[in-house]
């Protein structure tokens, strides 16, 4: 059997922040490969650089040096506009605080990334419906975020991340604001995305139980990979 193709290739990646006159090294010469369909749990204490690494892979932050190839594209070389398009087509985001737009229904929130595509209304509707069904939220499609529970909001956020059919889903502490039951649901959905839909999922978490849902865990400490 052929080895799975790498979807993310990181080489000698460093990120240094300037805080006044002090230089803070968030990532220190990181190299990492991630295969397609992998569910990677990025672990580490606060300030270890795990979110920074996630942001660089997802194209919302830039490294100070090094390479970050995602599906063969060096995202560090793209300009702002190219990165925006690239993110829309290739990356789905799930955040700790859900970040749904409060004035839009669950359906409309999920539809939001599709407004940037050339899809017609009917096609958008089909894709949104499919994404909501995938996360088990079809019956709540026309509820506003304030009418949903935390778990339901996060499921809507996952549907929004999936609706453009990206290859990579990044989740930054997605269970941090959920009760244990809802957290299990959300992690189960992310796991099935990796196992059944072949999506590459990168999960940032403090929680070893959450990390256990992943196919691989890596630990960061003071900007370095420790294991």
């Amino acid at each position: 059997m052929a080895a799975p193709e790498n979807i993310v290739t990181i080489r000698n990646l460093s990120k240094v922040y300037a805080q006044g006159e002090i230089q803070v090294t968030a990532l220190d010469n990181i190299s990492l490969d991630l295969a397609a369909g992998e569910f990677l749990a990025l672990m580490g204490p606060s300030g270890s650089g795990k979110s920074t690494l996630l942001h660089i892979i997802a194209g919302i932050d830039r490294p100070t040096s090094g390479e970050c190839l995602v599906q063969g594209v060096d995202v560090t070389k793209l300009n702002e506009s190219q990165l925006a398009d690239w993110r829309n087509q290739n990356v789905g985001f799930v955040f700790q605080t859900f970040n749904l737009i409060p004035v839009l229904t669950a359906f409309e929130n999920v539809e939001l990334p599709l407004l940037l595509t050339r899809l017609g209304r009917a096609q958008r509707r089909r894709q949104v419906q499919a994404a909501l069904e995938l996360v088990g939220l079809a019956d709540r499609a026309h509820h506003l975020p304030k009418q949903l529970s935390g778990g339901q909001e996060q499921r809507a956020a996952i549907a929004r991340a999936l609706v453009t059919d990206p290859q990579i889903v990044v989740a930054d502490e997605p269970t941090g604001n959920l009760d244990s039951h809802s957290a299990q649901d959300v992690l189960g959905i992310l796991q099935s995305l990796s196992r059944q839909a072949g999506k590459t999922v990168i999960l940032v978490t403090h929680d070893p139980k959450a990390a256990a849902f992943g196919s691989r865990s890596i630990h960061l400490e003071k900007g370095e990979l420790t294991r």
Binding site: A84, F95, T97, N99, P102, E111, P113, L115
Partner: protein
């Protein structure tokens, strides 16, 4: 859902703030239009066909200085003049119980004013009755309507400039002039009450042709040059504008207030937009992460800001148009303003100011959004 729909939803998310912001823009634009209309009405005298032919001749020293009545003979000999009459502003208080009388009273020579009052519509019988009775007057319809006066009624005035009071019998009611408010009575009656001083306030002259007015005014000025009572002749329009200019620099005053109104409007709009964007900063970062580009976010902000300002313009400028169209402004201002017309140019000004404000108010939030990276925006989340 589509992008315009998304923008509208965002704009209406805080309905109270939106209503207050639109109202403040609307109120400011209403005020701006009101000031502009007032300025226009004060500095742009109403004119009719006759006014382009009329010339006012006053003492060169001051409007308050009278002119010798003997100048009449000289004036009558000047070529290009078809009618001339004394025209003395009496300036009395009607009934003696008002602090401010909203209409003027002028003493004239009735027999000589037929051509000068060519715009006035009044029956021949009433004119003849007026000419025949030295203590009678004719009154503009606006004034008779306002005070419920009719022919035969008596009007009493307390002198404020001249040391005499008047009691006038209404012989006729005229209309059709640009200002149907004035009371016009006999100069001879005023002269008698004053003991025949041999003076008049000003002269009212009618030129044969409008094109000759500059030439005739020049002739009049020359005719009395180097006499004991030099005169200043000018067209009726120039005279009225000169009169307005005596109220100090009203244009500068109203212009200054208008600028302050616009500046306050700018602060309100910028503040509202800054607040609206600041509280949505996290969402804008999320939209960026989802793939929305700067130009799309700029378009959201600009559309919202522009919409807010235009909403204010519709209510403010549109409201001013409706209000001043429906109100009886003459009655409301006790005759200070005869009309109060919101012109298309003023509507255009209000909408242009609103459009400019909409754009200016969007600049600061757009710069903030442009400068902030997705990660910085997301950091406001946790």
């Amino acid at each position: 859902m589509n992008l315009p729909g998304f923008i509208i939803r965002n704009a209406f998310r805080n309905k109270r703030r939106l209503a207050l912001s639109v109202s403040s823009v609307a109120a400011s634009l209403f005020l701006l239009i009101t000031l502009q209309v007032a300025l226009r009405e004060l500095t742009n005298p109403i004119s009719d066909e006759g006014s382009s032919l009329r010339i006012i001749v006053r003492n060169k020293v001051s409007l308050a200085q009278p002119l010798p009545a003997r100048q009449l003979q000289t004036l009558e000999r000047i070529p290009g003049i078809v009618a001339v009459s004394p025209f003395s502003f009496y300036g009395g208080l009607y009934k003696g119980d008002e602090k401010f009388t909203s209409f003027a009273q002028f003493a004239v020579d009735p027999a000589r004013t037929q051509l000068l009052l060519a715009d006035a519509k009044i029956s021949k019988a009433q004119t003849e009755a007026w000419i025949a009775d030295q203590t009678s007057c004719i009154v503009g319809r606006m004034t008779t309507d306002r005070y419920g006066l009719k022919i035969g009624d008596r009007m009493q005035f307390t002198g404020q400039i001249y040391p005499c009071d008047l009691e006038l019998k209404i012989a006729g009611i005229y209309h059709g002039t640009a200002d149907d408010r004035n009371v016009i009575f006999h100069q001879k009656y005023l002269d008698e009450l004053l003991g025949n001083p041999g003076t008049v306030g000003t002269w009212w002259v009618r030129a044969a042709f409008a094109a000759e007015v500059p030439l005739v005014t020049e002739r009049i000025n020359r005719a009395f040059a180097n006499t004991s009572a030099e005169v200043r002749a000018e067209s009726e329009r120039a005279f009225v504008l000169g009169f307005v200019s005596m109220w100090a620099n009203i244009k500068t005053l109203i212009g200054g207030i208008s600028i302050v109104v616009i500046f306050a409007l700018l602060l309100v709009t910028v503040s509202t937009m800054s607040m609206a964007i600041r509280e949505r900063f996290r969402e804008l970062a999320i939209l960026k992460a989802l793939g929305f580009r700067r130009r799309e976010l700029f378009a959201f902000i600009l559309a919202e800001s522009f919409g807010l300002a235009m909403g204010g313009a519709i209510f403010g400028a549109g409201g001013a148009w409706v209000v001043y169209h429906l109100l009886n402004i003459q009655k409301l201002t006790s005759g200070l303003f005869i009309r109060f017309e919101v012109t298309p140019r003023m509507m255009g000004l209000a909408f242009s100011v609103a459009a400019l404000l909409g754009v200016l108010a969007a600049i600061a939030p757009m710069l903030t959004v442009a400068r902030t990276s997705v990660v910085q925006g997301l950091k406001t989340l946790d």
